[in-house]
């Protein structure tokens, strides 16, 4: 590596691959899906910046409506002669399969780059395995695997060269997250390397095979039984030739670049008797283990599979040592019901064939074992590899085994010794616990870059994120050292641990992974003298038992003083370098309350420093400053200056802690869930919360993906530093704060004052301001431990103090001093009875606040603009609600383990929620409706049939029930209860049938929920069909105008002039008017709402949509973190959206036509605010002003025209008389 003149860079697998693919292609069709999205994003950004490909043109990068669309576009581009590529993962790859058959069937050269990811089965998972790739085995694509960032870059090039020569399309894959997101120091291939490898003659040949009217031919015929079969076989020579072509390309690559790959690369003893076979990143961990075991004299080996398809038996057999006695073939996928996983079966077949034909060199038939590992990025460690080798030694080893889990159900798993480690003692292992918002990960990326690029050391960074979006924890794993790093697994023995958030100490044992003698850096507002007393017992014990050196810095104070707010990244980074370079001159705590404590009790020079003599602090800091200039320079000099000042101040504030002799704390880590939690929550969920999910056995889990509702209530996250506090004297009880709260942590109740007798002392109440509840008390209560501190409630509060207007009826105050008392108040509040729904006016926001939300404490971002709508939905219809949820933000905060927010009321009723896929959600929800309608029809049939036995009166009441009101539904429920009572006494077989469908007699509300990516793009076909179906389903589109969940890619809902990923130059076209399109059916209820602009209108639209006996569509303005402004002003911004005319509030009610009224009602006034005063509050618009001012001006002008034109059209339509409407809009 060090001999080459090629630049050495530190980047992740996605960038490594994208950089090659971008240079080698002309058309790139993309669609976001984790973890491949960054490849598309980079390609789009480079194109926006005008970066040329190898031939000097800027590739056309186009986002499609789905991966299916992307594959179709690529197919077309290839047929028209372009070099074309795409990037994808998981379900996205599945959507490409139909076109992949076509592309391969037509022998068309292309490379698809896949960050391999598991598939949605019993659950979705964004993490890495080979399930997606394995689903494409039959397409005819060649499958080429990479196991590391360097390999991913190399194979991206090798695949391109090989596809052009072989005409077989290639799928190049590397493990999602483990490789796609691992940051690694690699050698960058140069354009000269690319030129040397890609033969222009073959590019021309590719072009010549393309469709052209200048030399016309037809491709894509339909064939009959007479010829299809033979034609299919006609391609055989190409597949036979392919492996040799790939090997030749690899040889050429070795000549050009120096790294030598083979179709199957063998590592290990030449006389190994036990050999592992696997592909992908797991092979790196196995490689590390094999080298370790070899040094101990074990005769083991590893065969890395690179070209999996076409599978070359000859190359495979030739690569194995003739001494092999046992082969263990590891698959990172699962094929339930199969004889074994695909690679295993291939190996069995290959060995069998070679033996049968006498071409195998083995003395006897090797024993072949198959095993599964690493599904959905489950850790795959050297300890597991060792466990497999140990198993292979046994006389009767387990076949079809699993490794890395404890299978106590079907006993597939192998035992292994988890303490076995191959970590190189010369490799520094540093682990950092950070808060998402504090910049820890970006600082660590930068540190790895600095170490990688300013020293000869190898360097690796891997980052683990939270499943929650608000207050999320990140864990950074950094390795660096003088020897190559193949450790494709998390650090379990760290010699440097940093905790950037003091509050984590009460949640998890951050020092569990610390090695004896390690260095511990803690961000603490407590100084070196007082910090000890604030550490939980477990942490104190770890420090003492492992003899850790402990350092503290008050990074938040330093950041504040430097004007950096909560961004402590550069400060912590400077401290890291000071400690790791060994140049920290300790400023000892002069006095200590702990008497004769010491810094260390043994060797003073142990643990860090690790870079001593390799990188000086001065050089590291200079590199940091340079990086600050590079990262922030383009964002303005003020930012650079602040960060530089922070670096300078950091070291002055770093102090070593004098560690006492004994554990002194009287408190310890918090328990993950309280003892009163349900059994499943205590047994399973609590372990997941505590980060111990890996240790749970198979038997702990439901086999079909079914989980209990209402579990977020048990996970007290305490992430808000400030929470709202109610001023009962000022409050006007309007309910706006309750309505807007994205996490359902502000709730209101009215109740009999007698109930206050048992209230905790600080429990607040005020006289209820309702005529219906005269003499009762009202309480607005905050859940202190569930609040995220977004402050939307404070901004929306209309009640201000007359003497001090900054004081409102609800105000943010520090959480810590309030936690205990407010927890008691919250618990008391929950026990108070809920208001009688039948007494409430559901159309009034004031009354809606009294409805119990059945969606609470989700993992959505603080200040989320979507969740208030979902919460409202559950308040209005939650106890009879079925939700079909498209994949996206709402399915993640709605259903991502460990805990889920949909819950149930005292009667045990609550939303029934499910997520099918991204693209099929409208159809999924329609299916629910069809089932319910069918069951109701069957129930009615049975009711009539059993009427004599049940009683005519009850049957008639059940059949004729008016369920249009809360009261009507309550009555019907009561009737169904009576019915069931009678049915259990009836011997008639129909009675049992009716019993199973009787609940369908109560009106159910089916809601199809998803974001704009689903509704406008990938799911639009289905949504359109469902709207046209006339069936009674309700569709709620949470329109954030961007693919929020995957990180802000453009959708067709993105407005003109806004910057998004895949629209780095500003979206040039206007937002699709989904409401207008839906209106044209004439049979669908359509509403466009914005809670912040008119909350009553929102509530009204929800009620009307639900009541309408046909399809309804509500498009809800949802402010989003991807808009780029302080979300506490989300409601204000919604108001501005409406005032500017950008988001006209409207309802289209088909029933109005029957009443002789125009069905379209414009619910907001003509634009009164210049569009720029709305738009330019948001970074998505202003960043275009900063990056492309001319384009920003032009697009703003066009967007202003869009607003005017649309308003005129709506106004025209809304003002038509019914007769004109019938004529003009052609509705009968």
């Amino acid at each position: 590596m060090r001999d080459s003149t090629r630049p050495r860079v530190t980047l992740d697998g996605n960038e490594a691959v994208a950089s090659i693919a971008y240079q080698l292609n002309e058309v790139i069709a993309i669609y976001p899906i984790t973890p491949s999205s960054p490849m598309g994003e980079l390609a789009d950004q480079w194109a926006a910046e005008g970066r040329p490909n190898l031939w000097g043109t800027v590739p056309t990068v186009i986002e499609m409506q789905s991966e299916g669309g992307a594959a179709g576009a690529i197919h077309g581009a290839l047929q028209a002669g372009a070099l074309a590529t795409t990037f994808t993962s998981s379900q996205g790859l599945l959507l490409m399969i139909p076109n992949m058959y076509k592309i391969a069937g037509e022998l068309t050269a292309t490379v698809f780059h896949v960050a391999a990811r598991s598939l949605a089965t019993h659950a979705l998972s964004i993490f890495g395995d080979h399930s997606d790739v394995m689903a494409t085995r039959a397409t005819g694509f060649a499958l080429l695997a990479s196991g590391s960032v360097q390999e991913a870059m190399d194979m991206a090039l090798i695949a391109q060269a090989a596809t052009l020569e072989s005409r077989i399309p290639f799928l190049h894959f590397f493990d999602g997250f483990r490789t796609s997101h691992e940051v690694m120091k690699v050698e960058m291939l140069t354009p000269d390397d690319l030129r040397a490898m890609v033969d222009d003659e073959l590019v021309r040949a590719h072009r010549e095979r393309a469709l052209s009217p200048d030399r016309p031919f037809i491709r894509g015929t339909a064939q009959n039984p007479d010829v299809y079969f033979q034609s299919r076989e006609a391609a055989n020579p190409f597949y036979r030739a392919c492996p040799t072509i790939v090997q030749n390309v690899m040889e050429k690559f070795a000549r050009v670049v120096g790294r030598h790959y083979h179709l199957f690369d063998y590592v290990g003893a030449p006389d190994a008797d036990r050999v592992l076979v696997l592909m992908g990143s797991g092979a790196e961990a196995a490689h590390e283990t094999v080298e370790h075991l070899l040094a101990r004299g074990e005769a083991v080996g590893l065969l890395k599979v690179r070209l999996y398809r076409p599978f070359s038996v000859a190359h495979f057999i030739a690569a194995l040592p003739r001494t092999v006695r046992v082969l263990a073939v590891l698959d990172r996928t699962k094929e339930p019901g199969s004889l074994g996983e695909p690679l295993y079966l291939d190996v069995v077949a290959a060995v069998h064939e070679a033996m049968a034909e006498g071409t195998a060199p083995f003395a006897t038939l090797p024993r072949i074992l198959g095993g599964r590992y690493g599904l959905a990025s489950k850790e795959f460690t050297p300890a597991m590899v060792k466990g497999i080798f140990d198993e292979m030694k046994k006389a009767h080893p387990k076949n079809h085994f699993t490794i890395g889990i404890h299978d106590d159900v079907t006993h597939t798993s192998l035992d292994y010794d988890p303490t076995f480690s191959t970590e190189d003692p010369q490799t520094v292992r540093a682990v950092f616990y950070g808060l998402g918002a504090d910049g820890t990960v970006s600082a660590n990326r930068n540190s790895i870059k600095i170490i990688g690029e300013h020293t000869d050391y190898y360097a690796q960074g891997y980052f683990v994120y939270d499943s929650k979006k608000a207050g999320s924890m990140t864990i950074s794993h950094l390795r660096f050292g003088p020897r190559p790093i193949r450790s494709t697994y998390l650090i379990t023995r760290a010699n440097f641990v940093a905790c950037h958030q003091f509050s984590f100490l009460e949640r998890i044992n951050v020092l569990k992974i610390a090695e004896p003698g390690a260095t511990f850096l803690l961000n603490s507002s407590y100084g070196p003298e007082e910090v000890w007393d604030h550490l939980p017992r477990t942490i104190q014990r770890e420090i003492l038992e492992k003899d850790l050196r402990v350092f503290v810095i008050d990074a938040y104070r330093v950041a504040r003083e430097a004007g950096l707010g909560g961004r402590i990244n550069t400060i912590m980074q400077a401290c890291f370098f000071a400690l790791i370079t060994g140049e920290y001159s300790s400023t000892v705590a002069r006095s200590s309350d702990h008497g004769e404590g010491s810094f260390t009790r043994s060797d003073r020079s142990r643990g860090a420093p690790a870079l001593k003599g390799v990188l000086s602090l001065e050089r590291a800091l200079a590199a940091m400053r340079e990086a600050i200039q590079q990262t922030y320079g383009k964002r303005g000099s003020a930012i650079v200056e602040k960060n530089l000042a922070a670096v300078d101040r950091a070291l002055e504030n770093l102090h070593e802690v004098r560690v006492p002799e004994r554990v002194t704390s009287v408190f310890d880590l918090r328990v993950p869930v309280p003892p009163e939690a349900p059994e499943f929550v205590r047994r399973v969920t609590a372990r997941l919360i505590a980060g111990e999910g890996d240790e749970l056995p198979v038997s702990a889990f439901p086999p079909d993906g079914t989980y209990p509702s209402g579990t977020t209530q048990w996970e007290k996250r305490n992430i808000a530093t400030e929470i709202p506090v109610w001023d009962e004297d000022l409050c006007i009880q309007c309910g706006k704060c309750v309505l807007v709260c994205p996490h359902s942590v502000i709730r209101a109740k009215v109740y009999d004052p007698a109930l206050l007798a048992e209230a905790p002392p600080t429990f607040k109440s005020a006289p209820a301001r309702w005529i219906e509840f005269k003499g009762w008390r009202y309480t607005l209560q905050v859940a202190p431990e569930d609040c995220t501190g977004c402050a939307l409630c404070v901004e929306v509060c209309p009640a201000k103090s007359k003497t001090e207007p900054r004081h409102k009826a609800i105000n943010m105050r520090p959480q810590a001093p309030l936690r205990e008392t407010e927890r008691a108040n919250w618990e008391f509040f929950l026990r108070l009875p809920d208001a009688d729904r039948e007494k409430l006016h559901l159309g009034q926001v004031k009354d809606v606040q009294l409805l119990e939300p059945l969606f609470e404490f989700s993992g959505a971002c603080a200040g989320c603009g979507e969740t208030p709508y979902i919460k409202l939905l559950t308040q209005l219809f939650g106890d009879r609600l079925l939700i079909a949820n498209a994949t996206g933000c709402s399915s993640i905060y709605g259903g991502n383990l460990p805990t889920t927010p949909y819950t149930f009321n005292r009667e045990g009723r609550g939303p029934a929620w499910s997520n099918s896929l991204f693209e099929d959600n409208a159809e999924f929800g329609l299916g629910m409706r069809l089932a319910l309608d069918q069951q109701a029809a069957y129930a009615r049939l049975l009711l009539r049939r059993l009427a004599p036995e049940i009683g005519e009166g009850l049957v008639e009441a059940l059949l004729e029930a008016d369920q249009s009101t809360e009261e009507g539904i309550a009555r019907q429920r009561e009737r169904v209860r009576l019915l069931k009572e009678r049915l259990v006494t009836l011997p008639h077989p129909d009675a049992r049938q009716l019993l199973s469908v009787a609940d369908a007699l109560v009106r159910k509300s089916v809601w199809i929920i998803g974001g704009d990516g689903w509704a406008y793009d990938i799911g639009y076909g289905g949504l359109d069909h469902v709207l046209a179906s006339g069936r009674n389903v309700n569709i709620l589109v949470l329109d954030t105008e961007v693919y929020s969940n995957t990180g802000g890619q453009m959708s067709k809902a993105t407005p003109r002039g806004a910057v998004a990923k895949f629209a780095a130059g500003g979206k040039p076209t206007p937002k699709k008017d989904l409401a207008l399109m839906a209106m044209t059916y004439g049979t669908a209820y359509v509403a466009r709402v914005a809670m912040g602009a008119n909350d009553t209108h929102t509530v009204k639209a929800f009620l009307e949509a639900e009541a309408y006996e046909g399809p309804s569509l509500i498009i809800a303005y949802s402010h989003c973190i991807a808009h780029g402004y302080d979300l506490r002003f989300g409601m204000e911004q919604q108001k501005a959206a409406v005032l500017s005319g950008y988001w006209p509030l409207m309802r289209y009610h088909p029933d109005r036509l029957k009443e002789g009224k125009n069905p379209l009602i414009l619910d907001s006034k003509a634009p009164s605010l210049p569009l720029r005063q709305y738009a330019y509050n948001e970074t998505r618009y202003t960043m275009l002003v900063h990056s492309r001012p001319e384009a920003a001006r032009t697009l703003l002008e066009l967007a202003e025209k869009d607003v005017r034109a649309r308003w005129r059209l709506y106004e025209y339509l809304a003002n038509l008389s019914v007769e004109e409407w019938m004529k003009e809009a052609r509705y009968a």
Partner: protein
Amino acid sequence: MPDLTTTYLGLTLRNPLVISSCPLCESVDNIRRMEEAGAAAVVLHSLFEEQINIESELLDRYLSHGAECYAEALSYFPDMASYKLGPEEYLEHIRRAKAAVGIPIIGSLNGVTPSGWIRYAKAIEEAGADALELNIYYIPTDPNLTSVEVERRYVELVRAVKASVTIPVAVKLGHSFTAFANVARQLDEAGADALVLFNRFYQPDFDVERLEVVPTLTLSRSYELLLRLHWVAILYGRIRADLAVTGGVHTVYDVVKAIMAGANVAMMASALLKYGIGYLRTVLADLRQWMEEHEYASLRQMRGSLSQQRVAEPAAFERANYLRVLSSYAWRLPE
């Protein structure tokens, strides 16, 4: 034809009508129309250092907001290779304005940090501005801050900027000083080439329905001229620096008064915002006509003619004037 030429900041101007820093100056088209309508020079809208800092802080904050928190969304925006933040666009505007018109272009700067003032002053000079106006917009709200300290900061700022650029430097300031004449002298000694009297501060107003303070900006009126006339008339002849009147110049009479008080130029903005750029033609024609009717051959003739040093009753600018106004009201009291 009377001679309307005047000098200001060492520049010879074809007449005394200079466009004051205002939003109209943000467009090169407008500047071209101003030249055509007779403007003698244009002071561009201000480059606000604070604005640059805020914009860059917001961009930085929201580009990193929510980033690196959640595995599926490690960022929410594409981070472009470069952004046009801060002075580039302003400097480009100077260059384009200079290329578009022949009249002098005066840059305007409102800084917050000492380094910012100097950095951007140099940049404005390098972009080709003929002169620089320092728009010192500072409200000393700290009760511990003395007037001496405030004045010292003004003087040091002017000295520092003068030391770093070679183009002439005008200082535009407010009138809220205890001893304004002394402040003017200090700035004069610090090297200011002109004083521009006076800045009009944005005054916060109250929304009593929402109990909020709301920013307002009303256009100037002619009556505001009097304060400017007063101080120009006092300073004329007492300091070396040129004098400019800004705020309340709406009609030919306002222009004539400004010149007679001792101003080198009269600056207009509100009137143009109200009546359009073409209104300059009217004022200019009126000025010519007025001078002809009153038989003034040149502007020089009238400049400073009603300054304190030259009027028959210098006390009219001091306390005596106050007494006389009060008594003049007394005369009009209803019987």
